[in-house]
Amino acid sequence: MPSDRNHKVEEDINHIRQMMERSSSFLSLSGLSGIAAGLAGLLGASSIFYILKNQGIDYFDGQPNMYTGTVIGQILIVSCLTLTAALSLAFYFTYRKSKKVGQQIWSPPARNAAAAFGLPVAVGGIVCLLLLWHKTIFLVAPMTLIFYGLALTGTVRFTQKEVYWLGLCEIGLGISGCFLPGYGLVFWLLGFGVLHIIYGAALYRKYK
């Protein structure tokens, strides 16, 4: 029966396509991950505003403030909490989606993507610690954006191409941030908060 055979041929081709795609790219990134991470970023940045305000520091007075050790400590704690919250939320939604589409979350492409992502983030982390060490705090926020952007662009080979554009935007924001010392937090809020939400919403609409 020719129609039977055609059916099998079509199935074979679909199977081949699916296996090639699945084994080379990690397509389970969820838009909700981006939105959740963005919200965590917004919350984190607002808490830092709040901490500074409590210390009687007006972030926008244009004065180069020398922060005390306790304030820096608090900022670090808030940053770490924000990062943890953003990562776990992002992981949760992506995990949920990978379950739904039947892709293993720790598949080789996911590992490749994680490795490509991890290196710039690790280097960026070290650079930021060095900046803190040298008390050049105003560069920390733009640097996190730049290295995060580089990490994102590096993963494009293994996942949705939208991350590339997100990465470029983050890098652009980071570089602009270097020209406007004192507004690091604003750029941070735009980069980690607003951009993530826009990206997440776009991804969610496109891939559902």
Binding site: N6, H15, I16, M19, S23, S24, S107, P108
Partner: protein, 99 residues
């Protein structure tokens, strides 16, 4: 029998498992036994018997080594295998376009 062009079709790739192994190897340079097993959702025995058959015909290469004391099996596609599988895909595509 209708005159169907079966020239491009390769009997060695008829099984779903072998299609899967070849497809994965077309787009990945090296794939370990456990990754392959996970991606294709196969049992140990099923994967190794099909992989061995593919190796026997020269389509893939099986590299065995030890990571510490654990045996590590890695699959790679051969130049011949890549050409043969491309031809098979072309054959399949032709069959579809004929209808």
């Amino acid at each position: 029998m209708k005159a169907v062009d079966i020239k491009g079709l390769n009997r060695d790739f008829e099984s779903r498992v072998r299609l899967g192994i070849m497809s994965v190897l077309m787009v990945n340079d090296e794939v370990s036994f456990s990754d392959m097993k996970q991606m294709l959702e196969l049992s140990d025995g099923n994967l190794s018997s099909h992989a061995n058959a593919l190796e026997l015909n020269g389509y893939i290469e099986i590299k065995k080594s030890f990571a510490g004391k654990k045996p590590m099996t890695v699959y790679m596609i051969t130049v011949y295998g890549r050409a043969a599988f491309s031809q098979h895909i072309d054959g399949l595509a032709k069959m579809i376009s004929k209808t």
